[in-house]
């Protein structure tokens, strides 16, 4: 088991390396460098100082030296300085990342809470009315683009009905740490996470449904029935366990979806997270922030796939042995 995880991590290293090269190259390809930002804030800087600054920042070094320095800094948690906000990227991120993590976690949990029961009902009672409704819903949610759905949700529940706040992550007038503060926080979360969750159920529902349908005709289920195992236990002990495998395998890729989704959701609900920060930074050409964000997102996805494999190996003895 431990060996398996170690091996899996070793496999991740070249991917991480490639990712870092790609991000580094992107950063180099971006018009302007670390100085352009400063220059914009301080137009009076003369050529002499400029050259000195350039030398000081190591911008004249060969690319690989810059790369190694960048990686070193990265490992020490130094993501550079945002020239727009004039503060370390790490500080900037720490303000926002909590919000995004909260939102993503809500979406993921909510989506599983919705999808798993629906998938089970749908797979267990195939062709029933409930199944047809669930399949219909999953088709609809598969076809609907997130940004349009979120926009409609905001329009209907935020503006027309006015049930939920239309922007931000918390009511700024509420004092931090009070009960009201948390209520307000949850209140701000409901609409974006519901929008995200309702659309991200489709994968789980369909995988679960197909997997249950496939599993329930397998011979070992017949064996279990022939043992006299009650129907509910057949599902809980034999079918579901086997059917959850692909969902666990899918978890890693859910994270890619969540990162993409957060860009839309945070933009539409003006939710101050890293998705919104990313868009702002792109518009303001705040490159150090962009590079940091791409790197972190890539890392998150890699960790997600790692997590998937670890879960899989924990559940499936066939992988564990290997």
């Amino acid at each position: 088991m431990l060996k398996f995880i170690l091996r899996r991590i070793v496999i991740m290293i070249p991917q991480l390396f490639l990712l870092s090269i790609l991000v580094f190259l992107l950063a180099k390809a971006m018009p302007g460098d670390a100085l352009t930002g400063r220059l914009a804030n301080n137009p009076k800087m003369d050529a002499q100082t400029l050259a000195e600054m350039k030398e000081k920042l190591g911008l004249n070094d060969p690319p690989y030296v810059q790369y190694v320095r960048w990686i070193k800094n990265l490992m020490q948690g130094d993501l550079g300085i945002s020239y727009i906000h004039q503060q370390p990227v790490t500080d900037l991120l720490s303000e926002r990342i909590g919000n995004t993590l909260l939102l993503s976690a809500c979406i993921l949990i909510l989506s599983y809470i919705i999808a798993i029961p629906l998938g089970i009902v749908s797979g267990r009672w195939t062709n029933s009315l409930a199944d047809k409704l669930i399949v219909g819903y999953s088709y609809l949610s598969f076809a609907t683009p997130l940004f349009i759905f979120a926009l409609l949700m905001l329009f209907v529940f935020g503006f027309i009905l006015g049930w939920f706040p239309t922007g931000g992550s918390v009511n700024i007038q509420v004092e931090k740490g009070t009960v009201d503060y948390y209520i307000s926080k949850i209140n701000h979360l409901i609409l974006p996470s519901l929008s995200g969750a309702l659309l991200s159920t489709v994968g789980t529902i369909q995988y679960l449904r197909n997997e249950i349908i496939d599993t329930k005709i397998k011979d070992f289920v017949k064996t279990a029935r022939a043992k006299g195992v009650p129907e509910s236990r057949i599902y809980s002990r034999h079918i579901l366990r086997n059917s959850f495998l692909p969902i666990a395998a899918f978890l890693g890729y859910e994270i890619t979806g969540l990162i993409g989704g957060s860009i839309f959701l945070e933009s539409i609900f003006s939710y101050p997270g890293i998705g919104q920060l990313f868009l702002q930074s792109i518009m303001q050409r705040d490159y150090s922030v962009i590079t940091a964000l791409v790197m972190i997102s890539g890392l998150a996805t890699l960790l997600g796939t790692l997590l998937s494999d670890i879960i899989l190996s924990a559940v499936d003895p066939r992988i564990r042995i290997e």
């Binding site: 088709y139 076809a143 683009p145 890619t256 990162i259 791409v294 996805t301």
Partner: protein, 302 residues
């Protein structure tokens, strides 16, 4: 032995002729009412969009008319105007045309790349397959949306073609993976071994033997991808990182809703485009799902 010689052969279970995947899938599609309705609706929309985009005066549409800013729908402007007084309906038609065409282009390009790469990796296996799969695995863990946005932001001389290229560079992987998996399974079947022992060259086995057996999967996948690509394109355009400003997209119209005032009070600006995207994607998806069911049913029959 003798009794069977020349005698009419008993035919098992099915007697239907010709398992051409296209005809079977077409028949299934027409039988499915929802899918048939979707097909008809989509055809009508596309006919109107492509038909009227030929007639519409593009110059007229993009011309700023400060006298009629945010005009609500009227007989002159069927769907009102935007902040520049430009006709929404006209933009809707042009946008829909652009979105659909670009979605289609991306689908075809990624389809071609995915198919080629998938077939090669799956058929030959070994080192080739290993390298290709490592590349695909890598691309799949990249934060796709962020990278596209970064690329769009930094590419010099950005235009429609660069957009299509950027999108295609990321989106072929899923298809290649699918086709590879199916080819791998198909390769293990004895009809492929038989072809090899009969002296059929590899390229011919790939194109003539394996490809026809993947056709239904490919059709389904391309259809569903078309819908997905239209969605991604309009989504990116919504964020402002899709089509360049000179090329209106449905997403651009929706993006006006970023302004809360427009979102709340001027529904005619963004709602029609949103609904049009929704309807198009639903139609294509319903068609795709019906095709998928048909393909699955085919597979069950063998």
């Amino acid at each position: 032995m003798k009794a069977e010689l020349g005698g009419p052969q008993q035919v098992e279970v099915q007697t239907e002729k010709s398992p051409s995947s296209f005809s079977i899938m077409w028949r299934e599609l027409v039988r499915d009412k929802l899918a048939l309705g979707s097909l008809i609706l989509l055809s009508i929309i596309l006919l109107i969009v492509y038909g009227s985009s030929l007639i519409l005066d593009k110059e007229e549409i993009v011309k700023v008319d400060l006298l009629s800013i945010y005009a609500p729908p009227s007989s002159e402007h069927w769907l009102g105007t935007d902040y520049g007084g430009r006709d929404i309906f006209g933009q809707l038609i042009i946008g829909a045309r652009n979105s659909f065409t670009i979605g289609l282009a991306i689908t075809l390009i990624t389809g071609f790349i995915g198919l080629t790469v998938g077939l090669i990796a799956g058929y030959f296996g070994g080192v080739v397959d290993n390298i290709i799969m490592r590349i695909i695995d890598f691309i799949l863990v990249l934060p796709f949306l962020m990278l596209v946005i970064v690329f769009v932001a930094i590419v010099p001389k950005y235009n429609v073609f660069t957009f299509i290229l950027i999108m295609s560079a990321f989106l072929w992987t899923g298809k290649a993976r699918l086709i590879r998996a199916k080819t791998l399974a198909e390769r293990e079947l004895d009809y492929v071994s038989a072809s090899k022992t009969l002296g059929t060259p590899d390229w011919k086995i790939i194109v003539r033997e394996i490809l026809p057996n993947l056709s239904s999967i490919i059709i389904v996948n391309l259809t569903l991808n078309l819908a997905g690509n239209i969605g991604i394109e309009s989504g990116l355009s919504y964020l402002g990182f899709g089509l360049p400003e000179s090329t209106p997209s449905l997403g651009t119209l929706v993006s006006y809703a970023m302004n809360p005032d427009v979102l709340q009070n001027k529904w005619w600006v963004w709602l029609p485009a949103s609904l049009l995207i929704l309807v198009m994607m639903l139609c294509i998806n319903f068609i795709g799902q019906a095709l998928k069911r048909a393909a699955d049913a085919r597979q069950r029959l063998g």
